[in-house]
Amino acid sequence: MTTIEQYDQVFIETFGIENSQLAGLAYQSIPTWDSVGHMGLVAALEDVFDIMLDTDDIIDLSSYQKGKEILSQNYDIVF
């Protein structure tokens, strides 16, 4: 599985959504991405990519797209 496929799978499994919903997906744009779901997303990303997200990054993780930027810029994850 490629890095982007792993990343997509985290969102799909955490929020119970389809691949087609990923583009444009943002915090609180779907019922499952609430504050509790957000921490589930953080835990899943940390597990899959073996990282520990800083609090500032957890707060900034406001969308599917923003998450990619954070992981690539701050955690050396190459998509």
Partner: protein, 249 residues
Amino acid sequence: MNELLKGKNVVVTGCLRGIGRTTMEIFAKHKANIFACAQHKDVEFEEFISKLSVDNNILIKPIYFDLSDYDAIKDGMKQIISSKVQIHGLVNIAGMVYNGLFHMTSIEKMKEVFDIDFFSQMYITQYVSKIMMKHNSGSIVNISSITGIDGNAGQLAYSAAKAALIGSTKTLSIELGASGIRVNAIAPGVILTEMTKALPEDKFNILVEKSKIPRAGSPEEVAKVLLYLISDMSVYVTGQTIRIDGGIG
């Protein structure tokens, strides 16, 4: 009871002296592996933890950071995270005492005291609780003070920061309870440490005389309550602040 912490990994801050050092000793005797956080590197301290580690057949890793330096705290937490072990307990002991009447305490000084006595604890807890959440288990204890409950003339900044710790303890116990993490606080009274030496003698004596047990407490007496709260002896205790003050009132 022996070996109450066998197999557990515990983070203790403020290990260089006082209650932190004594807590580390008692936890070591109960077979905890310890991340011993201290303000700065110290030869005597390293010799002490080395001997403590050998004597009790446990691991003690020193982690150095100053609570006023958030980048250093972050580096310290990353050292703990990189060990990739489960963290069962966190005891936030490190802090500072500041004595000053309300009108003699600048807002800058209040912010400094809050930085060291409250915000740094929250910063550490953000990192360590995330490790605990992965294992759906953990016990966190914040060291407040009876001044955070009762107030004390001349300790505006200190008592306010310690009260903030009590409030955060209650809220964290609610937020983290579903993740299997317990959060409690202790509120020591007059305990014989270097920090209480900062109290003027008359104030010290008044506080001791107000106690139902008319003497100052020892660091060991505090550490034993911490042992209870970190161990599985207290698995159904959370959101509490336990006074250790000989019954001051």
